[in-house]
Amino acid sequence: DAGVTQSPTHLIKTRGQHVTLRCSPISGHKSVSWYQQVLGQGPQFIFQYYEKEERGRGNFPDRFSARQFPNYSSELNVNALLLGDSALYLCASSLAFPGPYEQYFGPGTRLTVT
């Protein structure tokens, strides 16, 4: 079975632009979470979605938004990009919510903002 997939692998954007990152969960998983990992730090929680509804949100500005589709895939959108948004964006899927179901991580999307 395929693991969590993310696209694109790398992305370079200019300040002020908008970006959309995509994630496909493991087959059968209904929950998707997004994390931002700045170089040299641990991942920071951004959002969790389950059954197409937002179930959790981290301390990120409103420029960050996400959604989950009927097939459980997800998009993370970031508007008005800042240099500080440069990071590795990780998507993780799990079976369900709530509950400490194991989160399986994708390889990430490396976003560089210039």
Partner: protein
């Protein structure tokens, strides 16, 4: 505030030896779970071991075991018979059912010397 602290930015171990990575956490929640993740240079975050906070018995997974001290809010990872493939960044993380968020520490970079 929910925080996870890893006080060792870097650790080194000789191949076949044992190493212990430290982690402390701070929470007022009673419903939480603890994890250790491994992130090799390839960036893929891999679950190493998990511990339910309500369980007194320390979790073990092959060469990996934890020392969970709930009163001290300490959760260390012991790697026995270290192998070259164990070299990676290790993250301690705490999962809270409320909000479905996984809070990560800053990470410990482990190097294994042949």
């Amino acid at each position: 505030a929910q925080t996870v602290t890893q006080s060792q930015p870097e650790m080194s171990v000789q191949e076949a030896e044992t190493v212990t990575l430290s982690c402390t956490y701070d929470t007022s929640e009673s419903d939480y779970y603890l994890f250790w993740y491994k992130q090799p240079p390839s960036r893929q975050m891999i679950l190493v071991i998990r511990q339910e906070a309500y369980k007194q018995q320390n979790a073990t997974e092959n060469r990996f075991s934890v020392n969970f001290q709930k009163a001290a809010k300490s959760f260390s990872l012991k790697i026995s018979d270290s192998q070259l493939g164990d070299a990676a960044m290790y993250f301690c993380a705490c999962y809270y059912n409320q909000g479905g968020k996984l809070i990560f520490g800053q990470g410990t970079e482990l190097s294994v010397k042949p």
